[in-house]
Amino acid sequence: MARELLKLEHINKSYEDRQILEDLNLTIHENEFLTLLGPSGCGKTTILRMIGGFETPDSGRILFDGKDITSLRPEKRQVNTVFQKYSLFSHMDVAENIAFGLKLKGKSQSYIRDKIKYALKLVNLDGYEHAQVTQMSGGQQQRIAIARAVVNEPKVLLLDEPFSALDLKLRQSMQREIVKLKKELGITFIFVTHDQQEALSMSDTVVVMNQGWIQQIGTPESVYNEPENAFVADFIGDSNIIDGIMVRDKLVHLLGKDIPCINTGFGENVPVDVQIRPEDIQICAPEEGQYRGIIRQVIFKGTVYDITVEAGGFSWLIQTITGHEQGAEVGIRLAASNIQIMAKPASEDEEAVSDE
């Protein structure tokens, strides 16, 4: 693994009586694309603002390259931020916006000109030097904000939900551009979002947060395929989360049947949460399945069908590529490797988000 660049140690933060973060520890490596993912109010933006220098923790330390920067003013940090609302200077044109940081550092005219050119090329806006920022679209403004940040050659770029105001198509193309940009710049990106798809498609590391607690840190694949608790399973992608009892290693009692799985180490006869992704469930003939049920609802979603099957006293969400008929009797089959066993939530923040 690359060198450690940023370390947050035992961070506590509360606003008035509300505790936002409690004893938070996080290590960020050089050249890592790390995403803080969670619902609003989970503390992800607070972490970003602390790294940027806009908030100070009540207690705990922030180390940058081994140096304590906990109470260093933002202008003295080797970090730049891309703000959610772009926050461009409306009284300056594009070039003046990008040059703002460089001028303050006393760079030469020719250096600044070259940097502006380079940065505009980087964000695909060559020739826009003298455009007025207030006349630009949201996507263009966000690109200028990125250009304005990266010309300062920060060691870490902070991005605070930068695409939340953009429409879906634009958001997706900006996501691809950001990944490309990250490769070209070779610096650390810390990205904050509540959009799980965005987090999964862009990051090296995803930090899933809820109610101020880190729920899981891992690669996009590991948080999707091996969620550690019901919250992560529920927040990232769609999930069927069912109460079960771990009979022994590799066997779980689920909705009245003993189903083979691959998880071990939970003990014997222990209550657990069982998670199965909708796309991992097979629909088959009634007599071939582990459960027998009736199709209650079929919704066409474009690439897949969302199918609700009532079976074993549970309403299963299943995704298939082929359509099925509503009201038909079917069987459900689960492959052992597609069943994820999770320990029961130890606290409220680990619980699944109930939307009923």
């Binding site: 940027g52 220098g53 933002p74 609302k85 926050s87 461009l88 409306s90 007025q132 207030t134 940040a149």
Partner: protein, 277 residues
């Protein structure tokens, strides 16, 4: 289409009447008196009289005091608005309303109160004596007039300034810090330019009443210091020289129009800059 147009015209009628009766007609009278002699014949004599030294001196002093008061108001109000902007909205507005309080009182009353504070045996000197400090001879000096102007007109500066400063999103300030600007550089390169509309309209709203006031200068200047407003008042109420009073008003109007043009110009360049792209 034409229907809504005629409806618009219908609703514009009261405003048109108002403008004709209370703006155009009085203006016409002022011009008429200014350009005629007592018998109604055209003359430039009134305007040439204005060029006499004592009138020019009064005009000069008026402009000077108005400028100084405007600058003091700006220097006082700006930090206040910066502090209020940092507070929570409700709290900020509460404190701001306190600063607007002088507006709710009769300015004649507040100026008379200042008279009792500043006069020879007034409250200020009582306090100074109590502390063993020498007296200050403030009453009937330009300084007293400036104090009165600042006190009365500060809200007119603070109001537009607060509106334009509180409109600046905090993340813009954070962006400036983020890019390496310290507090002073952020103020200089971001806050001031972005609040320029407020600065300009605040200055106009202080400068014009300060230039034309005669109550403050009469009460705190003790009729020893004559501002242009006092002379105009005297021409109309004591000397009954409406012709000269009107001519003086016209000269004053030129200054006010210049001021307003200046404001319009800065606003224009601002909006043109935005449209250019």
């Amino acid at each position: 289409m034409s229907n809504s147009k005629s409806l618009q015209r219908f609703f514009a009628v009261p405003f048109g009447l108002w403008s004709a009766l209370f703006i155009v007609l009085p203006l016409f009278f002022v011009l008429w008196h200014g350009f005629t002699d007592g018998n109604g014949a055209f003359t430039l004599e009134n305007l040439t009289t204005v060029l006499q030294w004592e009138y020019l001196k009064a005009l000069g002093l008026s402009v000077e005091l108005a400028l100084v008061s405007t600058i003091i108001c700006l220097v006082l109000a700006y930090p206040l608005c910066l502090i209020l902007q940092g507070l929570r909205k409700a709290k900020g507005i509460m404190i701001f309303l306190l600063f607007l309080l002088p507006l709710w009182m009769n300015s004649l009353l507040t100026t008379m109160a200042w008279q009792t504070i500043l006069e020879k045996n007034g409250i200020l000197n009582e306090i100074l004596r109590f502390c063993g400090l020498p007296d200050m001879a403030l009453i009937n000096t330009p300084a007293a007039i400036i104090i009165g102007m600042v006190y009365n007109f500060l809200p007119y500066m603070a109001l537009p300034l607060y509106v334009s400063i509180s409109r600046i999103d905090h993340s813009i300030i954070e962006a400036a810090w983020d890019l390496g600007a310290n507090r002073w550089q952020t103020f200089r390169h971001v806050m001031v330019p972005l609040s320029m509309p407020g600065i300009v309209s605040g200055c106009t709203m202080v400068f014009i009443p300060a230039l034309t006031t005669f109550v403050i200068s009469a009460l705190l200047g003790g009729n020893k210091i004559l501002l242009i407003g006092n002379i105009i008042e005297q021409e109309f109420t004591a000397a009954y020289d409406w012709q000269l009073g009107s001519a003086l008003s016209m000269v004053l109007m030129v200054f006010i129009i210049l001021n307003i043009l200046l404001e319009a110009f800065t606003e224009n360049t601002d909006s043109r800059k935005k449209v250019k792209a």
